[in-house]
Each structure stands twice: as structure tokens, then as C-alpha cells.
């Protein structure tokens, strides 16, 4: 069950829009924060609060890539593999991370600490190659810099 605070937050979100349904996207972020990912229970709760059919929430959740439909590690490492980052060695960055963490792309470490993903352009092309860990951007990456960053993660 969503916490009381989360339900209140979703209700308040509707005040931003002329139409309650518009609150689906921000509500899905609330669910993701609460459960760690977007699960069916959370989506049904959103439908209930916003007066929608569950499918109207499912269809949105499955369209957008930032809603994790299954649990991810504590640190979700997303490496940009689009053109500007690739020109400056994104594939080496990915290989290095994969080796360092002992997992392939799309996998999570057995201790549930890290998930490694390849993502499309994150709008950080002047500081390529780059990756995002949870909400934070890490730019101008080198192997040494990645080591530092990983060491800094608790």
C-alpha cells in the first residue's frame, strides 16, 4: 500500500492540470519512489486515486523507459551509448563497467547494489562520454574517474 503521504502527494498533483489524468506521469514517479519500481499494485492504486481504468495507467507506464517495470539495484548505472558518447569511447566505458561489476548490460549484481543499462542520448554530448547513476550525471568519463565514482558509492 502507498503511504498516506504518497496518496496525498498524488491528489495534490492533480491541482496542476485541467484534467486529472495528466497526473498519471508524476504519480508513476511517486510509485517508483515508494516501491523502488513501478509495480502492478502501485499502478492500480494510481488508477483508483485518479478515477481511471487500470489500463490507462499500465499503458503509460509501459510506454516510457524511465519507469522501471522490475526492481533495479540500489545504484542504477545508465551509460549513454548514442553517437557523441560512442565517438569518444562509450563502448570502452561500458566494457569496463561490465567487467568491474561482473555483470552484463541489463543485469543486476547478486547483492542488488548495481544495475547496468545502456541508454540513448542524455543531453550531455559536450562532456562525453557520460553516465547517469540514479539522478546524477557523471561526465567526461575515464576509467580512473569511474573507479573514483564507484569507490564513493556506499
Amino acid at each position: 500500500m502507498l503511504s498516506e503521504g504518497a496518496v496525498k502527494e498524488i491528489n495534490e498533483l492533480t491541482g496542476k492540470y485541467a484534467n486529472k489524468r495528466s497526473a498519471v506521469m508524476p504519480a508513476l514517479f511517486v510509485v517508483q519512489r515508494e516501491y523502488g519500481y513501478v509495480n502492478e499494485e502501485g499502478m492500480r492504486e494510481i488508477a483508483n486515486i485518479l478515477g481511471l481504468r487500470p489500463v490507462q495507467v499500465f499503458e503509460v507506464a509501459t510506454f516510457y523507459t524511465m519507469y522501471n517495470k522490475k526492481p533495479v539495484g540500489k545504484y542504477h548505472i545508465q551509460v549513454c551509448t548514442n553517437i557523441s558518447c560512442s565517438l569518444l569511447g562509450a563502448d570502452h566505458i561500458m566494457d569496463f563497467l561490465s567487467q568491474r561489476l561482473g555483470i552484463k548490460v541489463k543485469e543486476t549484481t547478486p547483492d542488488k547494489r548495481f544495475t547496468l543499462s545502456a541508454v540513448e542520448c542524455l543531453g550531455s554530448c559536450g562532456t562525453a562520454p557520460m553516465m547517469q547513476i540514479n539522478d546524477r550525471y557523471h561526465e567526461d568519463l575515464t576509467k580512473e574517474k569511474i573507479e573514483e565514482i564507484l569507490k564513493g558509492l556506499k
Binding site: 496542476k16 492540470y17 485541467a18 484534467n19 489524468r21 495528466s22 497526473a23 498519471v24 506521469m25 508524476p26 508513476l28 514517479f29 490507462q56 499503458e59 503509460v60 510506454f63 516510457y64 523507459t65 524511465m66 519507469y67 551509448t81 548514442n82 553517437i83 557523441s84 560512442s86 565517438l87 569518444l88 541508454v119 540513448e120 542520448c121 542524455l122 543531453g123 550531455s124 554530448c125 559536450g126 562532456t127 562525453a128 547517469q132 539522478d135 546524477r136 550525471y137
Partner: protein, 423 residues
């Protein structure tokens, strides 16, 4: 040396805070605009020659003039901050470092078209940007630059931040509206255009971040000042985001029409390791690539269109002589394939087929005739879709094949790459 306009505050300490913005003369344009007639403002924006910086290059003043004048109909302004065209990172800089400049532009735009509610649709990954905008909105409300009866006038405005969740298609304006209404971001058929039937079915203007950031400067310094920068038909300051194989990648604000050569060799410091330039994408990956012979092309809407490509978002992606064009094209088309929303068959199925063929060509399993298959598929997609995503993918692929066909053929024939022997 060109004096920056949009980026002028970027290096000030705490440039994202209201105090920094006010110190640089911020919100004076809003004050001035609120004393002007709305038609005068729209005319001024038309006269400035400002064209949309999101890529389409449509006259901003003209777009605003399409909004019905009836004061009883609610109207909306949506700021398109879903910056997603690979190579592009200009709007993010404005949002993170000078959010009030954007808010002031939005406020003036809303006043001009009679909108009391505006949404900033920001791509979901820009968490820092979204936080900065929320904070800037709070600051502006507290000081009376937003909210009810702004600066003592009769004009009231609320600006809301709406976060996307990772879908390139939301940069297409009607898909953005669908997304804002809480649905899958499938583009709408036009007409009706958003100026008549937009957000929540009401008249809506959708403008890019950089476009709106130009507005306060036009109000402050006049239409003639703006129109005198760069080419007459495509004037103003422009942000060029340079990435790839250059010594100094970064964001450069220069007059529209600055030659591509000057951007790459003077501002971005030339090609890394003194290698030769092989190809350059002038306006984000949808824009067909150019080569060395095109380097003297002025970077503006019309000059690039005359070369068969486009200014797009002004994202300049530079590739040196060691770059495999087939691999580059595959990366770009994996992207388009991933981002196709699935609404129209030609784009959804066509791009799926294109990447399947391109993968086998890249990985040494190409078949004779594959290049022709790719070109045939391009023809099957182009002009047959609701939105420009499919067209962009086709233009990019045709640009790669037209300029470097021998590399594609080499991959097919020799099962390996022409430039990097290890591949």
C-alpha cells in the same frame, strides 16, 4: 568577438538564482512588456525575425498570432524542454544555469497570447534542471514576477513543471501534448493545429527553450537589433553545441549564419590529434551529414536547407577520418528504432527492418543488394508518417549512404570495415 546574449549570465556565481538574474537586468523586459499592447509585442517578435530554435525554424511571432483573440477561451503555452535530439545539450544549459531567463520569456509569451497557465515539459532525466526550475518558479512567485496580478498589472500566470519519462517522441509537439494529458506520446494528426486545438483541446503555443530565452532580449533591445544579427531571413544569436572529435567540445553562442568551418576550427579548436574531418552532422542526428567540401556553409536555416540538410537544433557532431560511417549510422538508427512510438506502420516496421539490415552489414554478414534494400526502405517511410521521426531517420540514412556509399558496399563485400582493420 560576438557578445553573448543568451549565455551572458552563465558564468556568474549562482547564476540560477533570482538575485543573480536581477543583477544582470532580469525581469525588466517583463515589466516593459506588461505596459505594452499584446498585438505590439507579437508584431515586434514577428519583426525580429525570430525563428523556432527547436528545429523547425517557424516564425515565432507568426505562431503566436495564430492564437484566437477571444478572451473567454482558456489558452496555454507549453515550453518544449524535452531536449532529446542526440548531440543537443543547449536547452539544458539555459535551464540549469539561467532558469529565470526562460521564465521571463514564458511570461512575456503568455501575456502576448493571453495564456494564464504554462507548462514546461522537461525531459525526465534532467532532474537537476527540473529542481532548478521549481525553485526559480518559487522565487519568482515570492517576488511577484509570477502568480496573480504580476507587477501590479491585471495579468496573472502560473507556470508548472511537467517531467517526461524517457521518450524522444515527446519532443514532437503534438506527442508532447498527449504526454501532458497523461497518455502514451503518440503524435496527433494535423490539422487541427495546436493553435486551434492544443492542450486540453484549447489553443496552445509550443515553443522551444532557446526560442523563449530570446524573447526578453527582443523586448529590451528591440526587433531591429535582433534582426540585424546574422542573415536577414534567419537572424539572431544561436547556440551551437559541438561534440565528437574536436579539441574543445562545448556550447558556443554565435551569430546565426556563422560558417561551419569557423565553429569547428576556430571555436571548438579543430579536430583532435590533428586528424582530418570526415563528416559532420550540422543539426542533431536527423540532419543529413556534410563533408569537408561543405565547411563554408553558413549555419542558418536556409543555407543548410539549400545543402539538403538542416540546422535542426544546432547540434554539431564532428567525426574524424578514423570514424566508421556504417557503425555511426547503425548507432543512430538503433536510436530511431528504439524511439519510434509505434503509431504508424511505415516508421515502426520500416525502422525495424532497416536496423536488421544495418546490423548484418555492420557485423560482416551483409548480403549483396543490402544497400539497395536500405534505400528502398527509406522511400517506403519518407513522407508516409504522422510525424517527422521517420523522415528524420530516413534523411540521416540517405545522408550517410549518399556521402559514403563505398563504405557500406565495402562492408557487404569484404565482411569488414574500410577504416578500422580490427573490426
Amino acid at each position: 568577438m560576438f557578445e553573448p546574449v543568451i549565455l551572458k549570465n552563465m558564468n556568474a556565481p549562482d547564476s540560477f538564482k533570482l538575485t543573480a538574474y536581477l543583477n544582470s537586468g532580469g525581469y525588466q523586459a517583463l515589466k516593459k512588456a506588461l505596459e505594452m499592447n499584446t498585438d505590439t509585442i507579437i508584431q515586434m517578435v514577428k519583426d525580429s525575425g525570430l525563428r523556432g530554435r527547436g528545429g523547425a525554424g517557424f516564425s515565432t511571432g507568426l505562431k503566436w498570432s495564430f492564437i484566437p483573440k477571444d478572451p473567454t477561451i482558456p489558452k496555454y503555452l507549453c515550453c518544449n524542454a524535452d531536449e532529446g535530439e542526440p548531440g543537443t545539450y543547449k536547452d539544458r544549459a539555459i535551464i540549469e544555469k539561467d532558469p529565470h531567463q526562460l521564465l521571463e520569456g514564458i511570461a512575456i509569451g503568455c501575456y502576448a497570447i493571453g495564456a494564464n497557465n504554462a507548462y514546461i515539459y522537461i525531459r525526465g532525466e534532467f532532474t537537476l534542471g527540473a529542481d532548478r526550475l521549481e525553485e526559480a518558479i518559487r522565487e519568482a512567485h515570492a517576488k511577484g514576477y509570477l502568480g496573480n496580478n504580476i507587477l501590479g498589472s491585471k495579468f496573472s500566470l502560473n507556470i508548472y513543471v511537467h517531467r517526461g519519462a524517457g521518450a524522444y517522441i515527446c519532443g514532437e509537439e503534438t506527442a508532447l501534448l498527449e504526454s501532458l494529458e497523461g497518455r502514451r506520446a503518440l503524435p496527433r494528426i494535423k490539422p487541427p493545429f495546436p493553435a486551434q486545438v492544443g492542450l486540453f483541446g484549447k489553443p496552445t503555443v509550443i515553443n522551444n527553450v532557446e526560442t523563449l530565452a530570446c524573447i526578453p532580449h527582443i523586448i529590451n533591445r528591440g526587433a531591429a537589433w535582433f534582426a540585424a544579427i546574422g542573415p536577414a531571413k534567419s537572424p539572431g544569436p544561436k547556440l551551437f553545441g559541438v561534440s565528437g572529435h574536436v579539441n574543445k567540445p562545448g556550447l558556443y553562442e554565435l551569430p546565426m549564419g556563422t560558417p561551419l568551418r569557423e565553429i569547428i576550427y576556430t571555436h571548438a579548436g579543430g579536430i583532435k590529434g590533428d586528424r582530418r574531418l570526415k563528416a559532420v552532422i550540422p543539426g542533431g542526428v536527423s540532419a543529413p551529414m556534410l563533408t569537408e567540401k561543405d565547411l563554408d556553409t553558413p549555419m542558418d536555416f536556409d543555407s543548410l536547407a539549400a545543402k539538403g540538410t538542416m540546422l535542426g537544433s544546432g547540434a554539431v557532431v564532428v567525426m574524424d577520418e578514423k570514424t566508421c560511417i556504417v557503425k555511426g549510422a547503425l548507432i543512430v538508427h538503433e536510436f530511431f528504432h528504439h524511439e519510434s512510438c509505434g503509431k504508424c506502420t511505415p516508421c515502426r516496421e520500416g525502422l525495424d527492418w532497416i536496423v536488421k539490415v544495418m546490423r548484418r552489414v555492420e557485423h560482416g554478414e551483409g548480403k549483396e543488394g543490402d544497400v539497395e534494400v536500405l534505400l528502398k526502405l527509406c522511400g517506403d517511410i519518407f513522407g508516409r508518417t504522422f510525424c517527422p521521426l521517420g523522415d528524420g531517420a530516413v534523411m540521416a540514412l540517405r545522408g550517410a549512404i549518399n556521402n559514403f556509399r563505398e563504405e557500406f558496399e565495402y562492408h557487404v563485400k569484404h565482411k569488414r570495415c574500410m577504416v578500422n582493420s580490427e573490426q
